[in-house]
Amino acid sequence: MTPQDEITLDRREAVARILEDRGDALLITGLGSTTWDAAAVGDYPRNFYLWGAMGGAALLGLGVALAQPHRRVLVITGDGEMLMGLGGLATIAVQRPGNLSVVVIDNESYGETGMQKTHTHHGVDLAGLAAAAGFPTSRTIYSRGELEETVSLLYEACGPVFAVVKVEATVAPTVLPPRDGPYLRDRFRGAVLGDGASE
């Protein structure tokens, strides 16, 4: 269990800090709070939000990263969403995409369903699992200083990069981005592929 007094980061501030440096990186967010976090920073065509498909965010990111090897692909998801797709850490590590970074915003809770504790609250170490799977860079961030040191790795280190950001288990206001699947799909493809999006 993480001592709660060690956790001082606010999820909205942490996600805003990470995305401040995104440049032209492509962003995939997982079902729930991390989608609201990204939308609070701003809704852009290079964002693709999962409004379902729980457990699929990191693997969807892998598919994008393999298809677009010259662009940085950032996945931001929650601890509950990542826990549902743990096997995917092994799949990603084996593929070793140099351009993929996966960030878990870890409040140790299922934020959309009543703040029930997840396994990370009881000691499951997601960064340790990613490192054991073979991610060359994997770390857990507790402080603003550690976050500052890690942001550049998310965009520049040879991936796959994995980072768990421990955040306070507070409920931030829900900020809803667009949710219609075909709209999000066409918008993202247009941003990535330009005129080739209709192929």
Partner: protein, 177 residues
């Protein structure tokens, strides 16, 4: 190589050439003995990326990402893996993302393992319930046309399409190996 009775696997090379011609780049798979030859061919093709999965639903998410990034893919799995994919297929249906899967059937024609039967019998119905169009060729001759048509429907008409490859085509697993 897994041992399969009664059948030669020349169809695998023909199916692979269809995948090549359709511009498939990402080949996600949880292996089945019936797909062994196709997986080998994909692994040795420099234009394809073979991605081994821990569970089939990873492949659904992976291929959604592939297409969002501009590449076509295919998911190779056994019928028992279809059950693992159900919730992830909701994304394919809602976003109307092109999706092609070639499913090696178990639990039907001459099955030896009774534990394979429930999922094998339910495979087509479950896929249809999730909005996947199902082709079910009965012969090797029909298989090539089905794979070609399925790929066209998937990538030209933005649909989810599954080709169920019968044990009549694959052959029985040899339990006396």
């Amino acid at each position: 190589m897994p041992s399969l009775m009664n059948k030669e696997s020349g169809w695998s090379d023909e199916v692979f050439s269809v995948l090549q011609n359709m511009g498939i780049r990402q080949v996600a798979y949880v292996p089945d003995a019936g797909h062994a030859r196709i997986i080998e061919l994909c692994q040795s093709d420099s234009h394809m990326r073979a991605v081994s999965l821990t569970t089939e639903e990873e492949g659904v998410a992976l291929l959604a990402g592939a297409w969002l990034g501009g590449e076509r893919g295919v998911l190779l799995m056994q019928s028992s893996g279809v059950g693992n994919c159900i919730n992830m297929l909701a994304m394919i249906q809602e976003c109307r993302i092109p999706f092609l899967t070639l499913i090696a059937m178990r639990g039907e024609w001459g099955e030896f393992n009774p534990w394979q039967v429930p999922m094998g019998q339910a495979t087509g119905g479950l896929l249809r319930d999730m909005g996947v169009i199902v082709y079910r060729p009965d012969t090797t001759e029909q298989l090539m046309g089905a794979v070609n048509a399925a790929a066209q429907l998937a990538f030209a008409a933005n649909r989810a399409v599954a080709v169920l490859i019968s044990q009549q085509i694959i052959g029985f697993k040899n339990w006396q190996k």
